[in-house]
Symmetry: C2
DNA sequence: TTACGCCAGATTGTCGACAATCGGAGTATT
DNA sequence: AATACTCCGATTGTCGACAATCTGGCGTAA
């Protein structure tokens, strides 16, 4: 680089990370036009790396590109989220089934400890709910890792994970579902501990269905308000 | 463009398509280093669009990029293919279940007609087997479309589809599995016709498991030979 | 007034050149 | 002879400038 090497990796990678963060947190609104020159200047880089980053984010489904018309932040409408939760149910169910057979006892114990920390957080603070959401995603990702299926981990981690976070940031204000979610998580860990893959998959699928119902209701309310 | 507009879309897109084709057909060997300058010259374009294409293919898992060390064609080893078929089983099973509820009678009838054409092809020619393979992928993709889940279609179509084709080109020589595969396809269409989603999912999962066993044996033989 | 075509500004797509980095050949040292 | 160091060629990463394209507003004619 010419002047400095502040972060790690290529500029295109840092641009992808920063852009993903801005999109997920809502700093960049859904459907917003992404101007290459403007973003390049904001990130202090040329348009080349930025264009590569946009390609990357397109693969992650965070932005939608139209030839000769630029890139826009993806819009999470009801249909898109419904599709996402459907796919998630299938993939995370599968991850649970595999994890029940593949995770070590130690990993399962750590998963339990993770839930203990979540419970602590919930008791202590009622305000910062998104922290629990991020922790919830940790839980799901650890199970994906436990499946030992690299492709599954990539799909749940690199792609859907970001969309999920984006959805969470949008609807995290009224998250009264943390309590039942935690119980469901505990049930899943119990099933893993018993090495009951079928049960673990069933519980995970129900858990995700419940999450979708909750999100769906929230969307209804928002649409009704608008 | 400066001189001509031979194909459609941006140069990065045509580069991605041509590269994907070269990789899938085996023209570019697995693990082969991809030199940007060389490829750019071969495609008659600058390195900018080519780099964007490589980013795209990285998202499709067809190439693996390492910062400051270039891009290489992905290597389909046993573990990777095993993971792929596992994920496929979950996703295509889901697609079948949804398709049983969502496809129109007309679409299901067209699916049956597609199988009739496959049968014709198999009877007429024993040699060009890959044609059946491509047709097989058509069958699977039509079911994915029938699910009406856009994310599922994208995943099965844009990403896994290419890896599957790549795998097929590698192992298409001795494809004695066409006959039983066709029968299994017919069973699946029957289940769709009866709107039995559970059965359709079960049959599809078995079908893919069978395909994996077949591929797995082939890999064993190759490894043994080597 | 409305519809059509046209022009200018802005934005995207592309290229060539330069800087940074990596890998390997060659040499010196122990 | 083996190891470490250094330098050089090759390759990747980045930038600035130019061409192609799209968008929106304006003017003109029916």
């Amino acid at each position: 680089m010419l002047v400095k090497v502040p972060e790690q990796g290529t500029l295109a990678d840092v641009a992808a990370h920063r852009l993903a963060h801005s999109i997920v947190t809502g700093e960049l609104e859904q459907g917003q036009k992404l101007n290459e020159a403007e973003l390049a200047e904001r990130f202090g880089m040329g348009r080349g790396p930025l264009r590569e980053a946009l390609r990357h984010l397109e693969g992650m489904r965070l932005v939608k590109r139209i030839p000769n018309a630029g890139a826009r932040v993806v819009v999470l409408d009801r249909k898109t989220l419904s599709d996402l939760y459907g796919v998630r149910e299938a993939l995370e169910g599968m991850a649970c089934r595999l994890a029940a057979a593949q995770m070590t006892d130690d990993e399962i114990a750590q998963l339990g400890a993770l839930l203990d920390r979540h419970e602590e957080q919930i008791k202590k603070q009622g305000g910062k709910l998104y922290a629990q959401s991020e922790g919830d995603l940790d839980f799901h990702f650890q199970i994906a890792r436990g499946s030992r299926n690299q492709m599954l981990m990539d799909m749940l981690g690199s792609e859907q994970y970001q969309l999920l976070r984006m959805c969470r940031y949008r609807t995290s204000r009224n998250a009264q579902r943390t309590k039942p979610a935690l119980n469901q998580h505990r049930q899943i860990v119990d099933a893993l501990r018993q090495r009951d893959g079928e049960l673990a998959e069933l519980l995970m699928r129900r858990h995700i269905q419940g999450a979708w119902r909750s999100i769906s209701e929230m969307i209804d309310i928002e649409e009704q308000a608008a």
